[in-house]
Symmetry: C2
Subunit: 476 residues, 2 copies
């Protein structure tokens, strides 16, 4: 992704930056990225993902001669500013939650602390590189919640919003417990398992379905057959004949795949036919419009299903295709900042996120100022931690995160383990698929000091507004 970040910038970031440049406004600013809290959010938890992309991008931010020429051509930027951009390097600090961790709305999960122009420049980049990884990881994790140990495979590449987003979703879903993906580029990059069988066209090319099955099975020895090109019942029977015929030759059909029709009904029929033929060990692999709700329903109503290919709905996070999230200024030059416009509050100040466990399960998170003491005495000692870790110091990547560049396969396994550990600690009620009621929302507590800052802001602003109205009236 490194080569594509040049000018992945919204124009306003540069117009503001130039203003800061000439004003000398280059003191330290802190921005945080968080999921906004909303009533009626369709998710009980989210999974943090995307740090790899962010790290690679931050290290590669620079302006080429062509970029500078282009910016010059816009007629908005002065020579001194363009010269400054020519030598631009990110020199700030970045704190982040680790990939694979379970997170909740209202808590900062990435915090950028840098000279104002730098922190402002990366706004669009940070949101873009983090948002969709979280969305796709969360969608996949929901499938994992209800999969009951069955195999889940990402089949989404074709319907993703770009080749990049396909790769993001494949990666995210592996982190959150999928067994692998059909997409070879991701299998190659991360050394994760790849899966695949045949398409309907393969059956259609052959004069006869059985002949298609025979040829494929003979070539691959251990494989899966797609039985719904023409008719599911006939296809199942054809597959059974081929299994019987080729069993002697050491060919092993592990599953029959179905990709259309009324899935529950058809699976029951297929299972019956298979069992009647004593093929209890041939499982059924299901694809076609699968999402977490269908997985749950199918597993509840059928037996002998071995796994699911989850495609489109995962790869676009169909029921929540965007995240209500923000990258907001929270501190400038050591002073907390907040925006007050309607419905879009953010938490001021430089923060930490303390997660508290009780009886081995997540109990609550506390968002507090970075230097604020948090009272956790009422819980078991040692069972709390700060989720935000330092990833960049003065523009340099921290030692422990170099693995992201040096050993992607090992890194991705560590993310997956992180998710599986967190998932163990997730309270059962948060694994439910339905939107949470008010009482079921995980408790993300705002610390006393932050609450005090917000109150002061609101009061100050209220007073200002009253003054302005009084002024206005006296003028009229």
């Amino acid at each position: 992704m490194g080569n594509r970040i040049n000018l992945f910038i919204d124009l306003y970031e540069l117009t503001m930056m130039q203003s800061y440049f000439f004003e000398g406004e280059n003191r330290n600013a802190v921005f945080d990225f968080h999921i906004r809290f909303r009533e009626n959010v369709p998710r009980r938890f989210y999974v943090f993902c995307g740090l790899e992309y962010l790290i690679e991008a931050i290290e590669n931010i620079s302006f080429s001669d062509e970029d500078i020429e282009y910016l010059k051509s816009l007629g908005l930027f002065k020579k001194e500013f363009l010269d400054y951009l020519r030598g631009f390097k990110f020199t700030g600090d970045i704190y982040s939650v680790d990939e694979g961790r379970i997170i909740f709305p209202n808590e900062p999960v990435v915090e950028v602390s840098a000279p104002l122009p730098e922190a402002q420049l990366v706004e669009t980049l940070v949101i873009n590189l983090i948002q969709f990884p979280i969305l796709s990881a969360t969608k996949a994790a929901r499938c994992f919640c209800v999969s009951d140990g069955k195999i889940l495979v990402d089949f989404g590449a074709r319907r993703a919003h770009s080749t990049q987003s396909a790769e993001i979703a494949a990666r995210s879903s592996y982190i959150t417990g999928f067994s692998g993906t059909s997409l070879l580029s991701v299998g190659e990059k991360y050394s994760i398992p790849v899966f695949g069988t045949m398409a309907h066209s393969f059956v259609m090319i052959h004069d006869d379905e059985k002949e298609a099955f025979r040829r494929f099975a003979k070539l691959y020895k251990k494989t899966v057959l797609l039985i719904d090109t023409y008719d599911i019942e006939v296809g199942t029977k054809n597959a059974i004949e081929v299994i019987k015929e080729l069993g002697k030759e050491g060919v092993k059909i592990t599953a029959l795949r179905i990709d259309s029709g009324d899935l529950i009904d058809e699976v029951k029929k297929m299972r019956k036919i298979l069992d009647e033929n004593n093929m209890h060990d041939v499982s059924i692999f299901i694809s076609g419009g699968i999402n977490e709700y269908k997985i749950q329903e199918i597993l509840k109503n059928t037996e002998g299903v071995g796994g699911f290919g989850v495609g489109t709905e995962l790869t676009v996070s169909a029921d929540q295709p965007y995240l209500d999230c923000a990258y907001k200024l929270v501190e400038y030059d050591g002073k907390p900042k907040m925006k007050l416009s309607e419905g879009k509050h953010n938490l001021p100040g430089r923060k930490k996120v303390i997660r508290i466990y009780k009886n081995g399960k997540m109990f609550k998170d506390i968002v507090a100022l970075q230097d604020e003491d948090v009272d956790i005495t009422e819980y078991d000692s040692g069972s709390s931690e700060n989720l935000l870790k330092k990833v960049f110091s003065n523009g340099k990547i921290s030692e422990e995160y170099k693995i992201i560049k040096d050993n992607k396969p090992k890194y991705i396994q560590s993310c997956r383990e992180m998710f599986l550990r967190d998932f163990e600690k997730l309270p059962e009620k948060l694994k439910d698929l339905s939107p949470p009621t008010k009482d079921e929302v995980y408790n993300v507590e705002i610390s006393p000091k932050i609450r005090k800052i917000i109150q002061d802001f609101e009061k100050k602003f209220h007073d200002q507004k009253q003054n302005s109205n009084i002024q206005k009236k006296s003028v009229q």
Copy 2:
């Protein structure tokens, strides 16, 4: 995108391909890409987009040594097949609708005609590279439908599913009538206008909103101010004071931007305050959760709005985040092919799409076999055309499409003109935002010869199934 297509392949494409390779199944196959027809589709028309990506990808398909090593490591592929992949080049023909054209479900918009292994290999790539450009172009075109000549700007980069998808949506929306984008990388690549103002953080950095406005306006002379960081009414008044103060210095504020709150209410209030101050020429620019429905509602209920920034909902096509589309085998070795499984019919045979006009408006499209005579005598002569054009011949790009690589700015303008011309010819009832009733769906007619082939298939299959059932019974 060229450098990212290596192994952007679903594993099954290669397992099928290897089977074809050893079976010698390399006769000519035709696959077509089409939007599936469904009842209750939320769109009355679609806009074709993405050909640029497809052309660049097809020309760049190849397997590097690392790719071959990776495939070898999977233990699925034999040496002879891997050697064949090592020298792989696409040698087929591709037909496509031109970018910017209005299209409808059920008609092929891309047709790949190539030796079977090649046509199969590009399945995932074709769908991925075409689907989201169509989705985003269509969503943007719907905004254009109701924009009444106002300025529309793409603001979506941050919420797109990847940096690539942000660029795709920015490009698509410019083709379908947007004035430009906030995303600099796309402005640079296609020489299209870029737009941008300031963020809330800019106001928050300054001790005082008026001072923030003053500094920004002095630097840019002709610009837009964001007035909702704290309070919309106060912000509007602060902006007016700055406009009055700096007007003498030649500073021109063209618009005030609002990004939150009850937009219709707030716009009315802002307009009133502006008009009371004789600032009729300062327009209002609206962003924040905008989609086609909100544009329509706001323009219906307010006056003096100059334009809209359309972000998230455009860049993820929020109400239709994926397209029900397919890339299906329709002919092999000169013989028509079709899949019969439930609810997923496709049109067999190599086809053309004839569009017929009546009184200068699109009247109906006829999908016919490529060599079939279509009777259009009842319509004005000369007012029909075949939408599918030859883009690749024997793996070589056609002369008229080389502009896609050689002159992107000129090409993108031609796509935009194509859309605007087609939009003129689109019947008014199809510009309505609501889902079409059965009678309102644009008429895409299936030719007599295609209907005959389908009937023959269904009959043949029905007979086979009956035979199989009879056979089954006689066995029991």
